[in-house]
Protein backbone atom coordinates (compact mmCIF):
# COMPACT_ATOMS: atom_id res chain seq x y z
CA UNK A 1 0.00 0.00 0.00
CA UNK A 2 2.82 2.31 0.97
CA UNK A 3 4.72 1.31 -2.16
CA UNK A 4 1.67 1.94 -4.32
CA UNK A 5 1.16 5.26 -2.66
CA UNK A 6 4.75 6.23 -3.42
CA UNK A 7 4.33 5.23 -7.08
CA UNK A 8 1.16 7.24 -7.23
CA UNK A 9 2.92 10.29 -5.86
CA UNK A 10 5.80 9.88 -8.34
CA UNK A 11 3.40 9.50 -11.24
CA UNK A 12 1.48 12.48 -10.07
CA UNK A 13 4.66 14.52 -9.86
CA UNK A 14 5.69 13.53 -13.38
CA UNK A 15 2.24 14.27 -14.69
CA UNK A 16 2.19 17.64 -12.98
CA UNK A 17 5.67 18.44 -14.26
CA UNK A 18 4.69 17.54 -17.80
CA UNK A 19 1.57 19.59 -17.56
CA UNK A 20 3.58 22.53 -16.28
CA UNK A 21 6.06 22.15 -19.11
CA UNK A 22 3.26 21.92 -21.65
CA UNK A 23 1.64 24.91 -20.05
CA UNK A 24 4.82 26.92 -20.38
CA UNK A 25 5.30 25.84 -23.99
CA UNK A 26 1.69 26.52 -24.77
CA UNK A 27 2.00 30.00 -23.37
CA UNK A 28 5.07 30.66 -25.47
CA UNK A 29 3.37 29.34 -28.59
CA UNK A 30 0.14 31.22 -28.11
CA UNK A 31 1.05 34.01 -25.75
CA UNK A 32 1.49 37.72 -26.09
CA UNK A 33 3.70 39.12 -28.83
CA UNK A 34 5.38 41.48 -26.38
CA UNK A 35 6.99 38.45 -24.73
CA UNK A 36 8.66 37.67 -28.08
CA UNK A 37 9.68 41.18 -29.07
CA UNK A 38 11.05 42.19 -25.71
CA UNK A 39 14.26 40.14 -25.72
CA UNK A 40 16.46 37.66 -27.55
CA UNK A 41 16.53 36.59 -30.27
CA UNK A 42 16.44 39.96 -32.04
CA UNK A 43 12.88 40.53 -33.25
CA UNK A 44 12.07 41.78 -36.73
CA UNK A 45 8.51 42.63 -37.78
CA UNK A 46 7.68 41.77 -41.38
CA UNK A 47 4.56 42.41 -43.40
CA UNK A 48 4.54 40.32 -46.57
CA UNK A 49 2.61 39.04 -49.53
CA UNK A 50 1.63 35.43 -48.99
CA UNK A 51 3.78 34.20 -51.87
CA UNK A 52 6.82 35.07 -49.76
CA UNK A 53 5.80 33.08 -46.68
CA UNK A 54 7.84 30.03 -47.71
CA UNK A 55 10.96 32.22 -47.84
CA UNK A 56 10.15 33.82 -44.49
CA UNK A 57 9.76 30.39 -42.93
CA UNK A 58 12.86 28.97 -44.59
CA UNK A 59 15.28 31.75 -43.78
CA UNK A 60 13.47 32.49 -40.50
CA UNK A 61 14.08 28.97 -39.22
CA UNK A 62 17.80 29.37 -39.90
CA UNK A 63 17.95 32.80 -38.29
CA UNK A 64 16.09 31.83 -35.14
CA UNK A 65 18.54 29.01 -34.43
CA UNK A 66 21.63 30.90 -35.60
CA UNK A 67 24.52 31.48 -33.25
CA UNK A 68 26.07 34.05 -35.58
CA UNK A 69 23.03 36.33 -35.80
CA UNK A 70 20.04 34.98 -33.87
CA UNK A 71 16.92 36.74 -35.08
CA UNK A 72 13.22 36.01 -34.80
CA UNK A 73 10.84 36.95 -37.58
CA UNK A 74 7.30 37.91 -36.59
CA UNK A 75 5.09 38.49 -39.58
CA UNK A 76 1.71 39.25 -41.03
CA UNK A 77 0.58 38.20 -44.51
CA UNK A 78 -1.44 40.59 -46.62
CA UNK A 79 -1.74 41.85 -50.18
CA UNK A 80 1.23 43.56 -51.81
CA UNK A 81 -0.73 46.75 -52.49
CA UNK A 82 -1.97 46.80 -48.90
CA UNK A 83 1.50 46.47 -47.40
CA UNK A 84 2.91 49.12 -49.72
CA UNK A 85 0.24 51.50 -48.46
CA UNK A 86 1.02 50.48 -44.87
CA UNK A 87 4.70 51.35 -45.33
CA UNK A 88 3.90 54.60 -47.10
CA UNK A 89 1.55 55.75 -44.36
CA UNK A 90 3.22 54.27 -41.28
CA UNK A 91 0.41 51.89 -40.42
CA UNK A 92 1.22 49.57 -37.51
CA UNK A 93 0.06 45.99 -37.20
CA UNK A 94 -2.55 45.51 -34.49
CA UNK A 95 -3.74 42.01 -35.39
CA UNK A 96 -2.10 38.79 -34.24
CA UNK A 97 1.32 37.95 -35.65
CA UNK A 98 2.73 34.69 -36.91
CA UNK A 99 6.23 33.95 -35.72
CA UNK A 100 9.11 31.55 -36.11
CA UNK A 101 9.52 29.53 -32.88
CA UNK A 102 12.93 28.87 -31.39
CA UNK A 103 14.07 25.24 -31.13
CA UNK A 104 13.50 25.49 -27.39
CA UNK A 105 9.93 26.66 -27.81
CA UNK A 106 9.10 23.95 -30.34
CA UNK A 107 11.83 21.42 -31.13
CA UNK A 108 9.62 19.73 -33.71
CA UNK A 109 8.85 22.81 -35.82
CA UNK A 110 10.20 23.11 -39.33
CA UNK A 111 9.26 25.24 -42.33
CA UNK A 112 6.81 22.67 -43.64
CA UNK A 113 4.57 23.25 -40.63
CA UNK A 114 2.22 26.13 -39.89
CA UNK A 115 3.73 28.90 -37.82
CA UNK A 116 2.31 29.66 -34.38
CA UNK A 117 0.70 33.00 -33.68
CA UNK A 118 0.88 35.40 -30.77
CA UNK A 119 -1.65 37.90 -29.48
CA UNK A 120 -0.60 41.36 -30.48
CA UNK A 121 -0.45 43.25 -27.19
CA UNK A 122 2.22 45.69 -28.36
CA UNK A 123 1.14 49.15 -27.28
CA UNK A 124 0.04 51.16 -30.30
CA UNK A 125 0.64 48.20 -32.59
CA UNK A 126 3.77 46.64 -34.05
CA UNK A 127 5.83 48.95 -36.26
CA UNK A 128 6.72 47.26 -39.54
CA UNK A 129 10.47 46.89 -39.95
CA UNK A 130 10.30 45.62 -43.51
CA UNK A 131 7.48 44.94 -45.96
CA UNK A 132 7.82 42.51 -48.87
CA UNK A 133 5.85 43.21 -52.02
CA UNK A 134 5.81 40.66 -54.82
CA UNK A 135 5.09 43.20 -57.56
CA UNK A 136 6.60 46.48 -58.65
CA UNK A 137 5.41 49.27 -56.37
CA UNK A 138 4.24 51.15 -59.48
CA UNK A 139 1.54 48.51 -59.99
CA UNK A 140 -0.09 49.69 -56.78
CA UNK A 141 0.75 53.38 -56.61
CA UNK A 142 2.53 55.91 -58.80
CA UNK A 143 3.39 57.94 -55.72
CA UNK A 144 7.07 58.02 -54.82
CA UNK A 145 7.97 56.50 -51.45
CA UNK A 146 7.94 58.93 -48.55
CA UNK A 147 11.30 60.33 -47.45
CA UNK A 148 13.32 57.74 -45.60
CA UNK A 149 11.59 54.71 -47.12
CA UNK A 150 13.67 52.81 -49.66
CA UNK A 151 12.87 50.11 -52.20
CA UNK A 152 15.28 47.17 -52.40
CA UNK A 153 14.87 44.75 -55.29
CA UNK A 154 14.78 41.16 -54.10
CA UNK A 155 14.43 37.75 -55.75
CA UNK A 156 12.22 37.25 -58.78
CA UNK A 157 8.73 35.79 -58.32
CA UNK A 158 7.20 33.85 -61.20
CA UNK A 159 3.43 33.68 -61.75
CA UNK A 160 1.40 31.16 -63.67
CA UNK A 161 -1.88 29.93 -65.04
CA UNK A 162 -2.59 26.44 -63.74
CA UNK A 163 -5.17 23.72 -64.34
CA UNK A 164 -6.00 20.43 -62.64
CA UNK A 165 -3.85 17.48 -63.67
CA UNK A 166 -6.92 15.88 -65.23
CA UNK A 167 -7.30 18.76 -67.70
CA UNK A 168 -6.02 18.26 -71.25
CA UNK A 169 -4.93 21.91 -71.55
CA UNK A 170 -1.20 22.53 -72.00
CA UNK A 171 -0.85 26.23 -72.83
CA UNK A 172 -2.55 29.61 -72.85
CA UNK A 173 -1.77 32.55 -75.11
CA UNK A 174 -2.09 36.14 -73.92
CA UNK A 175 -5.12 36.92 -76.10
CA UNK A 176 -6.86 33.78 -74.82
CA UNK A 177 -6.16 34.82 -71.22
CA UNK A 178 -7.52 38.30 -72.02
CA UNK A 179 -10.84 36.80 -73.12
CA UNK A 180 -10.92 34.17 -70.36
CA UNK A 181 -10.46 36.53 -67.45
CA UNK A 182 -11.82 39.69 -69.05
CA UNK A 183 -15.06 38.26 -70.46
CA UNK A 184 -15.67 35.17 -68.27
CA UNK A 185 -18.91 33.40 -69.13
CA UNK A 186 -19.21 35.27 -72.43
CA UNK A 187 -15.67 34.72 -73.77
CA UNK A 188 -16.93 32.31 -76.47
CA UNK A 189 -13.73 30.28 -76.18
CA UNK A 190 -15.29 26.93 -75.46
CA UNK A 191 -12.48 26.12 -73.05
CA UNK A 192 -12.52 28.25 -69.92
CA UNK A 193 -15.94 29.86 -70.19
CA UNK A 194 -17.50 29.21 -66.79
CA UNK A 195 -16.61 31.72 -64.08
CA UNK A 196 -17.47 29.31 -61.30
CA UNK A 197 -14.44 27.25 -62.34
CA UNK A 198 -12.04 30.19 -62.67
CA UNK A 199 -10.14 30.62 -59.43
CA UNK A 200 -8.48 34.01 -59.01
CA UNK A 201 -7.11 36.15 -56.17
CA UNK A 202 -8.17 39.43 -54.54
CA UNK A 203 -7.25 42.58 -56.43
CA UNK A 204 -4.57 43.61 -53.92
CA UNK A 205 -2.67 40.32 -54.25
CA UNK A 206 0.51 40.17 -56.27
CA UNK A 207 -0.47 37.06 -58.22
CA UNK A 208 -3.46 38.79 -59.75
CA UNK A 209 -1.82 42.20 -60.04
CA UNK A 210 1.19 40.85 -61.94
CA UNK A 211 -0.79 38.57 -64.26
CA UNK A 212 -3.30 41.36 -64.85
CA UNK A 213 -0.52 43.57 -66.14
CA UNK A 214 0.72 40.77 -68.40
CA UNK A 215 -2.61 40.05 -70.08
CA UNK A 216 -3.94 43.61 -70.06
CA UNK A 217 -7.01 43.01 -67.92
CA UNK A 218 -7.06 45.47 -64.98
CA UNK A 219 -7.38 43.72 -61.59
CA UNK A 220 -10.87 45.06 -60.90
CA UNK A 221 -12.10 43.67 -64.23
CA UNK A 222 -11.14 40.04 -63.62
CA UNK A 223 -13.88 37.42 -63.83
CA UNK A 224 -13.82 34.39 -61.57
CA UNK A 225 -14.11 33.27 -57.98
CA UNK A 226 -11.73 35.15 -55.70
CA UNK A 227 -9.82 32.90 -53.33
CA UNK A 228 -8.33 34.37 -50.14
CA UNK A 229 -5.11 32.36 -50.24
CA UNK A 230 -2.97 30.51 -52.76
CA UNK A 231 -3.69 27.30 -50.88
CA UNK A 232 -7.39 27.88 -51.57
CA UNK A 233 -6.70 28.08 -55.30
CA UNK A 234 -4.84 24.78 -55.07
CA UNK A 235 -7.71 23.20 -53.16
CA UNK A 236 -10.33 24.55 -55.57
CA UNK A 237 -8.48 23.22 -58.60
CA UNK A 238 -7.64 19.82 -57.19
CA UNK A 239 -11.19 19.39 -55.93
CA UNK A 240 -12.91 20.72 -59.03
CA UNK A 241 -15.88 18.78 -60.34
CA UNK A 242 -15.02 19.91 -63.88
CA UNK A 243 -11.25 19.80 -64.41
CA UNK A 244 -11.42 20.65 -68.13
CA UNK A 245 -13.21 23.93 -67.44
CA UNK A 246 -11.07 24.82 -64.43
CA UNK A 247 -8.23 27.30 -64.37
CA UNK A 248 -6.48 29.22 -61.62
CA UNK A 249 -3.55 31.51 -60.93
CA UNK A 250 -0.61 30.81 -58.65
CA UNK A 251 2.95 31.79 -57.92
CA UNK A 252 5.23 29.34 -59.72
CA UNK A 253 6.80 28.25 -56.44
CA UNK A 254 3.37 27.22 -55.13
CA UNK A 255 2.84 25.24 -58.32
CA UNK A 256 6.25 23.61 -57.90
CA UNK A 257 5.06 22.16 -54.59
CA UNK A 258 1.88 20.85 -56.22
CA UNK A 259 3.16 19.40 -59.49
CA UNK A 260 1.60 16.04 -58.72
CA UNK A 261 -1.93 17.42 -58.86
CA UNK A 262 -1.69 20.51 -61.08
CA UNK A 263 -0.45 21.40 -64.56
CA UNK A 264 1.21 24.73 -65.24
CA UNK A 265 0.21 26.12 -68.62
CA UNK A 266 2.91 27.24 -71.02
CA UNK A 267 2.37 30.96 -71.68
CA UNK A 268 2.71 32.88 -74.93
CA UNK A 269 2.95 36.64 -74.43
CA UNK A 270 1.68 39.28 -76.82
CA UNK A 271 4.01 39.46 -79.87
CA UNK A 272 5.61 36.14 -78.92
CA UNK A 273 5.71 33.26 -81.41
CA UNK A 274 5.60 30.28 -79.09
CA UNK A 275 4.43 29.44 -75.58
CA UNK A 276 6.97 28.53 -72.90
CA UNK A 277 6.99 27.14 -69.39
CA UNK A 278 8.99 28.97 -66.68
CA UNK A 279 11.40 26.04 -66.77
CA UNK A 280 13.11 24.62 -69.84
CA UNK A 281 10.63 21.74 -69.76
CA UNK A 282 7.60 20.88 -67.63
CA UNK A 283 9.72 18.48 -65.59
CA UNK A 284 12.68 20.69 -64.72
CA UNK A 285 13.17 23.48 -62.18
CA UNK A 286 15.87 25.57 -63.87
CA UNK A 287 13.72 28.66 -64.59
CA UNK A 288 15.71 29.08 -67.80
CA UNK A 289 12.90 30.69 -69.85
CA UNK A 290 11.97 32.96 -66.95
CA UNK A 291 15.61 34.02 -66.59
CA UNK A 292 16.30 34.59 -70.29
CA UNK A 293 13.05 36.30 -71.31
CA UNK A 294 10.98 33.52 -72.87
CA UNK A 295 8.55 33.21 -69.94
CA UNK A 296 7.22 36.66 -69.16
CA UNK A 297 4.84 36.49 -66.17
CA UNK A 298 7.17 37.50 -63.35
CA UNK A 299 7.75 40.38 -61.00
CA UNK A 300 10.58 41.23 -58.68
CA UNK A 301 9.97 41.13 -54.97
CA UNK A 302 10.49 44.56 -53.48
CA UNK A 303 11.60 45.11 -49.89
CA UNK A 304 10.35 48.38 -48.39
CA UNK A 305 12.23 49.62 -45.34
CA UNK A 306 13.57 52.70 -43.63
CA UNK A 307 16.90 53.59 -45.26
CA UNK A 308 19.65 56.16 -44.94
CA UNK A 309 20.86 58.57 -47.61
CA UNK A 310 22.77 55.74 -49.30
CA UNK A 311 19.70 53.53 -49.48
CA UNK A 312 21.02 51.20 -46.77
CA UNK A 313 18.45 49.95 -44.23
CA UNK A 314 18.82 51.83 -40.98
CA UNK A 315 17.60 48.86 -38.94
CA UNK A 316 20.60 46.54 -38.59
CA UNK A 317 18.36 43.47 -38.48
CA UNK A 318 16.67 44.49 -41.74
CA UNK A 319 20.03 45.10 -43.38
CA UNK A 320 21.25 41.68 -42.29
CA UNK A 321 18.08 39.98 -43.52
CA UNK A 322 18.06 41.70 -46.92
CA UNK A 323 21.79 41.09 -47.41
CA UNK A 324 21.23 37.40 -46.70
CA UNK A 325 18.34 37.18 -49.16
CA UNK A 326 20.30 39.03 -51.83
CA UNK A 327 23.30 36.74 -51.36
CA UNK A 328 25.56 39.55 -50.17
CA UNK A 329 28.33 39.07 -47.61
CA UNK A 330 27.12 39.56 -44.04
CA UNK A 331 28.83 40.60 -40.84
CA UNK A 332 28.96 38.47 -38.80
CA UNK A 333 29.15 35.73 -41.41
CA UNK A 334 26.02 33.57 -41.43
CA UNK A 335 26.18 29.80 -41.06
CA UNK A 336 24.84 29.17 -44.58
CA UNK A 337 24.43 30.91 -47.93
CA UNK A 338 21.28 33.02 -47.85
CA UNK A 339 20.61 32.20 -51.48
CA UNK A 340 20.09 28.57 -50.46
CA UNK A 341 16.75 29.53 -48.92
CA UNK A 342 15.79 31.67 -51.91
CA UNK A 343 16.40 28.84 -54.37
CA UNK A 344 14.92 26.20 -52.10
CA UNK A 345 11.53 27.91 -52.07
CA UNK A 346 11.41 28.32 -55.85
CA UNK A 347 12.37 31.97 -56.19
CA UNK A 348 15.01 33.15 -58.64
CA UNK A 349 17.78 35.37 -57.30
CA UNK A 350 18.15 38.62 -59.20
CA UNK A 351 21.82 37.73 -59.70
CA UNK A 352 20.75 34.73 -61.83
CA UNK A 353 18.65 36.82 -64.23
CA UNK A 354 19.66 37.63 -67.80
CA UNK A 355 16.82 40.07 -68.48
CA UNK A 356 15.17 42.85 -66.53
CA UNK A 357 12.22 45.23 -66.75
CA UNK A 358 11.26 48.43 -64.95
CA UNK A 359 7.56 47.86 -64.32
CA UNK A 360 5.16 44.92 -64.31
CA UNK A 361 4.77 43.45 -67.80
CA UNK A 362 7.15 46.09 -69.09
CA UNK A 363 9.41 45.42 -72.05
CA UNK A 364 12.38 43.22 -71.30
CA UNK A 365 15.95 44.32 -71.80
CA UNK A 366 19.21 42.42 -71.49
CA UNK A 367 20.63 42.35 -67.97
CA UNK A 368 24.05 41.64 -66.58
CA UNK A 369 23.95 41.47 -62.77
CA UNK A 370 26.78 43.22 -60.95
CA UNK A 371 27.52 40.04 -59.02
CA UNK A 372 26.24 37.16 -61.15
CA UNK A 373 25.28 33.81 -59.63
CA UNK A 374 24.02 31.84 -62.62
CA UNK A 375 26.33 28.87 -62.07
CA UNK A 376 25.37 28.59 -58.42
CA UNK A 377 21.67 28.84 -59.29
CA UNK A 378 21.75 26.21 -62.00
CA UNK A 379 23.64 23.81 -59.76
CA UNK A 380 21.38 24.37 -56.76
CA UNK A 381 17.84 24.03 -58.16
CA UNK A 382 16.20 20.60 -57.79
CA UNK A 383 17.78 18.19 -60.32
CA UNK A 384 20.16 21.02 -61.14
CA UNK A 385 23.54 20.50 -62.74
CA UNK A 386 26.04 23.28 -63.28
CA UNK A 387 26.86 23.75 -66.97
CA UNK A 388 30.22 22.41 -68.10
CA UNK A 389 31.44 25.99 -68.44
CA UNK A 390 30.98 26.56 -64.70
CA UNK A 391 34.10 25.88 -62.62
CA UNK A 392 33.93 25.35 -58.89
CA UNK A 393 36.19 27.54 -56.75
CA UNK A 394 37.13 28.42 -53.22
CA UNK A 395 38.40 31.91 -54.00
CA UNK A 396 39.20 34.22 -56.90
CA UNK A 397 42.65 32.76 -57.56
CA UNK A 398 41.34 29.97 -59.79
CA UNK A 399 38.90 32.17 -61.70
CA UNK A 400 41.33 34.09 -63.93
CA UNK A 401 39.82 37.49 -64.66
CA UNK A 402 36.55 36.42 -63.08
CA UNK A 403 35.28 36.18 -59.53
CA UNK A 404 34.49 33.28 -57.26
CA UNK A 405 30.85 33.68 -56.24
CA UNK A 406 28.86 31.17 -54.20
CA UNK A 407 31.38 28.44 -55.03
CA UNK A 408 31.59 28.98 -58.80
CA UNK A 409 33.73 31.14 -61.08
CA UNK A 410 31.62 33.87 -62.63
CA UNK A 411 32.66 36.36 -65.31
CA UNK A 412 32.68 39.28 -62.89
Amino acid sequence: MRKWSCWTKWSLAVACGSAAALGTEGAALAGNCSLLTGGAPNPIIVESGDTQEPLIKSIGSKLVSSTAMPMRILYKLTGSCTLINDMYTGVKITTSLSYIPTPTEDPTWDRTKPTPTCTNDITGGAAIDVAISAVFVSSCTMTAPPAGIGLITGPIQGYSFVVPKASTQKAIIAEEAYFTFGFGNSDMLGSWDNETFMFIRPITKSTLVSLAANIGVPPAKWKGVSQPASSDVVAALTGSANPEKSIGILGTEIYDKNRATLTLLAYQAYKQKHAYWPDSSPTTFDKQPLRDGHYLPWSPTVYLAAVDNMGVPTNANVKYLTDLILGKPTTPAFESDGLDSVVAVGLTPDCAMKVTRSFDAGDLSLYSPAQPCGCYFESTVPMGVAPASCMTCLDDTTCGAGKCRHGYCEAK
Binding site: K170, Y178, G182, L189, K271, A275, P282
Partner: protein, 109 residues
Protein backbone atom coordinates in the same frame (compact mmCIF):
# COMPACT_ATOMS: atom_id res chain seq x y z
CA UNK B 1 -5.81 50.02 -119.46
CA UNK B 2 -4.49 46.55 -120.35
CA UNK B 3 -1.40 47.19 -118.26
CA UNK B 4 -3.56 48.30 -115.35
CA UNK B 5 -5.59 45.07 -115.53
CA UNK B 6 -2.38 43.03 -115.64
CA UNK B 7 -1.02 44.82 -112.57
CA UNK B 8 -4.31 44.32 -110.75
CA UNK B 9 -4.30 40.63 -111.54
CA UNK B 10 -0.69 40.37 -110.40
CA UNK B 11 -1.48 42.15 -107.13
CA UNK B 12 -4.48 39.87 -106.58
CA UNK B 13 -2.38 36.78 -107.19
CA UNK B 14 0.26 38.04 -104.79
CA UNK B 15 -2.39 38.63 -102.13
CA UNK B 16 -3.78 35.14 -102.67
CA UNK B 17 -0.33 33.63 -102.36
CA UNK B 18 0.40 35.57 -99.19
CA UNK B 19 -2.93 34.56 -97.72
CA UNK B 20 -2.26 30.93 -98.57
CA UNK B 21 1.14 31.06 -96.85
CA UNK B 22 -0.39 32.81 -93.85
CA UNK B 23 -3.15 30.21 -93.67
CA UNK B 24 -0.53 27.49 -93.82
CA UNK B 25 1.36 29.09 -90.96
CA UNK B 26 -1.79 29.30 -88.85
CA UNK B 27 -3.06 25.85 -89.60
CA UNK B 28 -1.16 24.26 -86.73
CA UNK B 29 -3.21 23.90 -83.58
CA UNK B 30 -1.83 22.64 -80.31
CA UNK B 31 1.59 21.19 -80.89
CA UNK B 32 4.89 20.99 -79.11
CA UNK B 33 7.38 23.23 -80.87
CA UNK B 34 10.58 21.66 -82.12
CA UNK B 35 13.50 23.61 -80.63
CA UNK B 36 15.74 22.17 -83.36
CA UNK B 37 14.11 24.65 -85.72
CA UNK B 38 15.57 27.39 -83.55
CA UNK B 39 19.14 26.27 -83.87
CA UNK B 40 19.99 26.82 -87.51
CA UNK B 41 22.72 29.04 -88.88
CA UNK B 42 22.41 32.73 -88.24
CA UNK B 43 22.02 35.35 -90.93
CA UNK B 44 21.68 39.09 -90.84
CA UNK B 45 18.11 39.35 -92.08
CA UNK B 46 15.78 41.46 -90.04
CA UNK B 47 12.33 40.79 -88.69
CA UNK B 48 9.30 41.38 -90.80
CA UNK B 49 7.00 41.24 -87.78
CA UNK B 50 5.68 44.60 -86.75
CA UNK B 51 7.68 47.79 -86.80
CA UNK B 52 10.47 46.73 -84.50
CA UNK B 53 13.88 47.82 -85.64
CA UNK B 54 16.02 44.77 -85.28
CA UNK B 55 19.70 44.17 -85.00
CA UNK B 56 19.44 40.63 -83.68
CA UNK B 57 20.47 38.02 -86.17
CA UNK B 58 17.53 35.96 -87.29
CA UNK B 59 17.66 32.23 -87.69
CA UNK B 60 16.84 30.64 -91.03
CA UNK B 61 17.84 30.24 -94.63
CA UNK B 62 15.78 33.10 -95.96
CA UNK B 63 13.22 30.93 -97.66
CA UNK B 64 11.54 28.87 -94.98
CA UNK B 65 9.12 31.05 -93.08
CA UNK B 66 8.62 28.33 -90.46
CA UNK B 67 12.30 28.40 -89.56
CA UNK B 68 12.65 32.19 -89.66
CA UNK B 69 11.20 32.73 -86.24
CA UNK B 70 13.99 33.22 -83.75
CA UNK B 71 16.87 35.58 -83.09
CA UNK B 72 20.37 34.41 -82.32
CA UNK B 73 21.59 37.76 -81.00
CA UNK B 74 18.57 39.40 -79.37
CA UNK B 75 18.87 43.06 -78.47
CA UNK B 76 15.37 44.38 -77.79
CA UNK B 77 12.15 43.12 -76.24
CA UNK B 78 10.71 41.56 -79.38
CA UNK B 79 13.96 39.77 -80.14
CA UNK B 80 14.46 38.64 -76.54
CA UNK B 81 11.05 37.00 -76.25
CA UNK B 82 11.57 35.36 -79.64
CA UNK B 83 15.23 34.49 -79.22
CA UNK B 84 16.50 31.07 -80.22
CA UNK B 85 16.42 28.67 -77.29
CA UNK B 86 16.73 25.02 -76.47
CA UNK B 87 13.86 25.31 -73.99
CA UNK B 88 10.78 23.29 -74.80
CA UNK B 89 8.07 25.37 -76.45
CA UNK B 90 4.44 24.81 -77.32
CA UNK B 91 2.37 26.15 -80.19
CA UNK B 92 -1.30 26.81 -79.59
CA UNK B 93 -3.68 28.48 -82.03
CA UNK B 94 -7.02 28.75 -80.25
CA UNK B 95 -10.10 30.09 -81.95
CA UNK B 96 -10.82 33.60 -80.63
CA UNK B 97 -14.30 34.53 -81.88
CA UNK B 98 -14.38 37.89 -80.10
CA UNK B 99 -11.29 39.26 -81.84
CA UNK B 100 -12.11 42.31 -83.94
CA UNK B 101 -11.92 41.97 -87.74
CA UNK B 102 -8.55 43.75 -87.77
CA UNK B 103 -7.19 41.30 -85.20
CA UNK B 104 -7.31 43.79 -82.34
CA UNK B 105 -8.67 43.03 -78.90
CA UNK B 106 -12.13 44.39 -78.15
CA UNK B 107 -12.60 46.60 -75.09
CA UNK B 108 -13.45 44.79 -71.88
CA UNK B 109 -17.12 44.66 -70.87
Amino acid sequence: MKTFRLLTALAFATCLGTAAIAAGCDSSSDTPHDPAKDSGPADTSTSSDGNTSTDGNMNGDGGDSAARDCFTNPQNHFEIINACTDAQAFDKKPSLPLLLPDGALPPLP
